[in-house]
């Protein structure tokens, strides 16, 4: 609703906990990996995705239907949470959900850059962030990247985008613009957090997310051996890396793995790091960071029952569910076996 007045964690947490009970568990996933895309859509229609599948069923089919229904449901659920929460609770949740604004901005920029049609861009947006329909409409109507930058003038992305636009004009690559959006989001994420023990936990979680993002980026850079300055991809706010250590470590995979294995995340990421050394696959590491965040989120949700943390825990679990179902549907479409798909899922 708004950031004014006192917050109402009791109400939001009760609703979120009820919703959490409706998320798919092990049982459902086991059934889903054995279904065809059409069956998955039917299964979703019989659970909490009913409205979305029905609304989109006439226009799309197969995996597209699943994908759009997932996005629409995610957006509806998160918009709902923002609608219910008031006061400082709203501020804390909006901080995290702004990542969908960042996602939308990036999608629009990429769409405009590749000359995609307005409808094609629109279906890929996830309207879960803080942007209202009017701003999204203006973004969609923009026919050049400059117009997108202009439409975002009065948001937190305005200033960084304007600065990055000059660079974009020179080089004609999207990287500076996308980095500007990401950085604007992450800078606001950890800025001026209020005090209190639950908030400290929340902050620790956000920092872990930034750390994992940095670690994954660094590992990717180190393995690809590309001549890109790692410092350009560095995100401020984490505890694990500083700009300099990241720049130094990203040149050598072994050193980087060593560094992460000795950090405070050793317990969570240890097995995945060993696997990374053995089979040389980044996927396991990325899944391990996701699972570690999810497990951390679960723990957060029970330590301080009446605070922002159970809400964040739900948001994470919901996102994970969306990604799992999408992985199943896409895997089925590509003809993977049930076992292969199961290894792609992150279930705690």
């Amino acid at each position: 609703m708004s950031a004014a007045g006192s917050s109402n964690p009791e109400f939001v947490v009760a609703r979120v906990r009820a919703r959490r009970g409706q998320l798919y568990g092990d049982e459902e996933y086991r059934k889903l990996v054995r279904m065809t895309p059409a069956e998955i859509a039917r299964f979703m229609e019989e659970s909490s995705y009913e409205t979305e599948v029905n609304a989109l069923g006439s226009r799309h089919g197969g995996v597209d239907l699943i994908e759009y229904a997932l996005n629409a449901n995610l957006a509806k659920q998160f918009e709902g949470i923002l609608d219910w929460s008031e006061g400082s609770l709203y501020d804390l949740i909006a901080r995290y959900l702004r990542k969908f604004d960042a996602w939308n901005v990036k999608t629009v920029i990429r769409g405009v850059y590749t000359g995609a049609s307005q409808e094609a861009i629109e279906v890929d947006l996830i309207r879960a962030g803080e942007f209202d329909d009017r701003r999204i409409r203006r973004l969609l109507e923009a026919d050049s990247i400059e117009a997108v930058v202009e439409a975002l003038e009065d948001t937190i992305y305005g200033e960084p985008l304007r600065a990055a636009y000059a660079e974009f004009e020179e080089s004609d690559v999207l990287v500076p613009l996308e980095n500007a959006v990401d950085r604007a989001f992450y800078e606001r994420l950890l800025e001026n957090l209020p005090g209190g023990e639950p908030i400290r936990q929340y902050e620790a979680f956000l920092k872990a997310e930034v750390d994992f993002r940095n670690a994954t980026n660094a590992l990717r850079l180190a393995r690809s051996g590309a001549e890109i300055d790692p410092a350009e991809y560095f995100i401020e706010g984490g505890e694990l890396f500083t700009r300099d250590t990241l720049a130094r470590l990203a040149r050598n995979v072994d050193e980087l793995v060593e560094y992460i294995a000795e950090s405070q995340y050793a317990d969570e990421l240890g097995p995945a790091l060993r696997e990374l050394e053995e089979v040389d696959s980044l996927i396991a590491f990325e899944h391990a960071t996701d699972a570690a965040l999810l497990a951390y989120g679960d723990r957060l949700g029970t330590i301080h029952p009446v605070s922002v943390t159970p809400v964040i825990s739900y948001i994470l679990a919901k996102e994970r569910e969306t990604e799992n179902i999408r992985a199943i549907a896409r895997g089925k479409e590509a003809g993977l076996s049930a076992d292969e798909i199961e290894s792609e899922l992150v279930i705690t």
């Binding site: 109402n8 009791e10 009760a14 609703r15 009820a18 009446v306």
Partner: protein
């Protein structure tokens, strides 16, 4: 203002004092207990309404849990009969 309160306090003390009067103290106890119950019900009530919004079947459970702190007031009422 402060002096006025002081004078009031002196006056109250010299005439026997309100709070040393047992029934007044009992009344205060009941009032404070009711205040505490109200504060407790605020949180439980909003959580109950949240749960009900998701699932109508929780109405009875929500109602029971919401009025549970009311027992504090009833226990406090015992004091009234003792004094």
């Amino acid at each position: 203002m402060l002096e006025a309160t002081n004078e009031l306090g002196n006056a109250v003390l010299s005439t026997g004092g309100t709070l040393t009067d047992p029934s007044a103290a009992a009344a205060l106890a009941v009032g404070l207990a009711a205040l505490g119950a109200g504060y407790a019900e605020r949180g439980i009530g909003s959580a109950a309404v949240g749960a009900m919004a998701e699932d109508d079947d929780l109405f009875v459970n929500g109602l029971i849990l919401t009025v549970l702190p009311e027992t504090i007031v009833i226990l406090a009422l015992v004091v009234v009969f003792i004094v």
